[in-house]
């Protein structure tokens, strides 16, 4: 029942997002016809191309047609590059996915120990240092951090390449090297958010009666922290992982441009510059679906973490 309800909401959200983005992209000035034919083209050629691209039909009809094709997996064919949008997206998707997963791994992998360490020593020097550090990380724009990391690791110490991408299929080692710096850059902002959340929730959990009683049973601090306190404290963290996917995907647009990675974000930026509405639209759909699905998965994970939610 709950699942059906959520699925219905999910479908509605996606309909609204695609409709809004389709209409807005169509209404914005900037015409693919001009982009293809150039400014000096005669009116007859323009009209012919408009008809060929289906741009002479009313907006709603065009949206309905596009949506119908979308349901069959057809994202349309880009009038600019003359290639199917779906193929282009499929080619770029693995890069962005790998970047996102790597960034989350970096962020969570560091945030959990850091948050725990800070909560255990709440108020002491380590905790205060970590609070200051995470506040600073939170205030560093992703492109500033990226530039600084490139300056340090690629230019000064030359331990990793500044830009470029090696797919996993070509060479695993080089693939990891090429994803390392972008993932750290993208993950650092999330790391700060996650660590602060986990710290605050852990401190609250550690005040609970059942933790005091666990201490009264003579269990070690380590056991109490990992077995008793961590799981009830993870709910906010899991929510944040889902909700922050949006910010993270927005970040990939910058990161992929900065590090020269051939992913979805880069494709969208390039398509915006070349007035390729259909490709931009396809990218928007992909991002929204991804976001909605991740948050759907988060709800499922909730129930695994907290048995109280299973009944609801």
């Amino acid at each position: 029942m709950i699942v059906l309800h959520r699925l219905a909401r999910l479908v509605i959200v996606l309909l609204v997002v695609t409709f809004l983005s389709y209409v807005m992209l169509a209404l914005l000035p900037g015409d693919p016809v001009t982009q293809i034919l150039g400014i000096g083209a005669d009116e007859e050629a323009r009209a012919r191309l408009r008809q060929e691209l289906g741009l002479d039909e009313p907006l709603l009809v065009r949206y309905a047609g596009w949506l119908g094709d979308l349901l069959t997996g057809d994202f349309g064919t880009s009038p600019i590059t003359r290639t199917p949008v779906a193929g282009e997206l499929a080619e770029r998707l693995p890069v962005t996915l790998e970047l996102l997963v790597a960034a989350q791994v970096v962020a969570l992998g560091l945030a959990v120990p850091v948050g725990i360490a800070a909560a255990r020593r709440a108020g002491r020097a380590l905790d205060q240092a970590l609070t200051v550090l995470s506040f600073a990380l939170l205030s560093t724009p992703v492109f500033v951090l990226g530039v600084l990391l490139i300056l340090l690791f690629a230019v000064t110490w030359q331990v990793v390449p500044a830009t470029g991408w090696t797919p996993i299929s070509v060479d695993l080692g080089w693939n990891i090297t090429s994803v390392l710096l972008p993932a750290v850059t993208l993950g650092c902002g999330q790391l700060a958010v996650y660590a602060r959340l986990l710290r605050a929730d852990l401190i609250a959990t550690l005040q609970e009666d059942y933790i005091t009683l666990a201490r009264a049973r003579g269990l070690s601090p380590r056991r109490i922290l990992w077995r008793h306190a961590l799981r009830p404290s993870a709910i906010s963290l899991i929510t944040a992982v889902g909700l922050n996917m949006g910010a993270l995907i927005g970040g990939t647009v910058i990161i992929e441009t900065l590090f020269g990675l051939p992913g979805i974000g880069r494709l969208i930026v390039d398509s915006i510059f070349s007035r390729d509405h259909l490709t931009v639209q396809g990218g928007v759909v992909l991002i929204s679906v991804g976001y909605v699905l991740v948050n759907f998965a988060v709800d499922v994970v909730y129930a695994a973490v907290d048995p109280r939610i299973r009944r609801a």
Binding site: G123, F135, P141, V155, G218, I287
Partner: protein, 625 residues
Amino acid sequence: MRRRLGAGFWIAVAWIALVLAAAVLADLLPIARYDETLAGPPQAGPSAAHPFGTDGLGRDVLSRVVHGARVSLGVGIGAVVLGLAIGAPLGVLAGYRRRAADAVIMAVNDVALAFPALVFALAVVAFAGASLRNVLVVLGVLGVPAWTRLIRGATLSFAEREFVLAARVLGVRDRRILWREIMPNVAVPAASYAFVGMAVVVVAEGSLAFLGLSVQAPTPTWGGLINEGRALMETAPHVVLAPSVVMFLTVLSFNLVGDRLRAAGDVRPSGLEPTRQAPAVLPSAGPRPLTGALLQVDDLRTHFLTPRGPVKAVDGVSFTLERGRTLAVVGESGSGKSMLIRSVLGLLPGAGVARGGHVHLGGDELTAFTPERMRQVLGRRLGAVFQDPMTALNPVRTIGAQVAEPLRVHLGMSRRQAREEAARLLASVGIPDPARTLGRYPHQLSGGMRQRVTIAMALSCGPDVLFADEPTTALDVTVQDQVLRLVHRLREERDMAVVLVSHDLSVVRQWADEVIVMYAGKVVERGPAADVFERTRMPYTEALLQAAPRLTDPAHHRLRVIPGRPPDLAAVPDGCAFRPRCAYARDRCAEQAPPLVAEGGHLHACWHPVGRTMTESEGADSHGR
């Protein structure tokens, strides 16, 4: 109670003011024009003439950063004002007029979150033209959902408060309520978010500029400067570093100001403030000679060090307890009963606490144990049950995992052994179908069942003493008796001692062998239960007894309540702490604190004890009650 904003806040404010002033006065400052090429040698490092150095065309980087601030701050302030202007009315409306508006807001929220905002901003700016106005409008509109959400939340929390409900009931017009009651309270979170929002917008504008989609050259922008500087990273890193550092400091300052404003407006103490005090040891009388009792507590003290001075939660408590006996600790809320239990068990927070005194268990001085050795005692030799069974069990672990844990940790049982023993334990505390209960979660059990589970856990390793801190207060009356009977039966079976904390005197009368009456952290009366109840000495105990209803009371019998309230433990009055509420108080009570004096095994701390007949009076001090 407002907290101080701190030095960091004022430094951040000063930095924002500096950047703002520089941006406004950019044309008047004695620096080169931002587009003047060869103002100095190209790619020169910082110097007196060019504090931030020069870029590849010899332009002054400081001038370009200062002019870039115009765009960043202009967009930042403009977009926040725009978002607030649209979002605040919507948020107030949604928060105050719930129902329909709420549903719409939630739906819009869902969509807004799933919508890739940055992509949208990029597209709009690219297609509609990269002008200051377009960037400002796009970023402002994109901020509207967040503003609506924030203002709605703040309004909602106040629309439900008593003073607003009261105004509504009195028929005050809505507009008046909104302006007079709600707006002032929403203003602080709004001001806080305005600064955080500016940080967000400055970063977003920077991102657009970095991708070449903000205000176009030749006007410099921070994001654009960082993008340009990338090309010179190897030869002239200062060109990219200068705008990066300035941007970082500005965003940091906005975030810091917003964060401090939020903290200052938050009236609830978060409990997360750092405490700097290290644990301290209070002076106390040396340990008395051991009496050979199972549990011997001497002059136990626990003081919490607070900004208002030490709070003496436990202040010199002594008692002994033998096997097979039940000691009851009674007193009003806040008299230090629970703290006494936690102090004996050593379950106090590490920081901000001073402690003193001695606890001996079977000849071992627990107060001298290291935390590691203490863990061998807790669970194995001392068991504890707390008041609220709803919060005493970990909500995300099964009953089986929780009951079996001490068995595995302390007794080294295998998984299967521990499970079987856990089922036996559950059966022994009267839980039906123990095998199935093992696989359940706490929320699936009733309060009485949960309390039985916590008792089973406390008893799992066969402790010598069971500490039960108000074990039945949170339970139904019918269940209370069952649980107390259970504790009593288990005491008999296992030859344990029980320390029972309670404010229910009928419970104490029924189950306790000895009684301690606590007031303001001190023992004011102590002795065998029969003596304390039948030959009460301390006026406070008498008042407690009179405040408790009895089944034998005649109908319409008036219950007496104790006037006043327990003293503030940070400022206990001189003399007897109970004096302000005592009907029998004399001058001497205000001057000197009464010592705990013994009459055989019955001790009391009172200058004018009650219940003393004229014949055994001490002459002049008697006052013929």
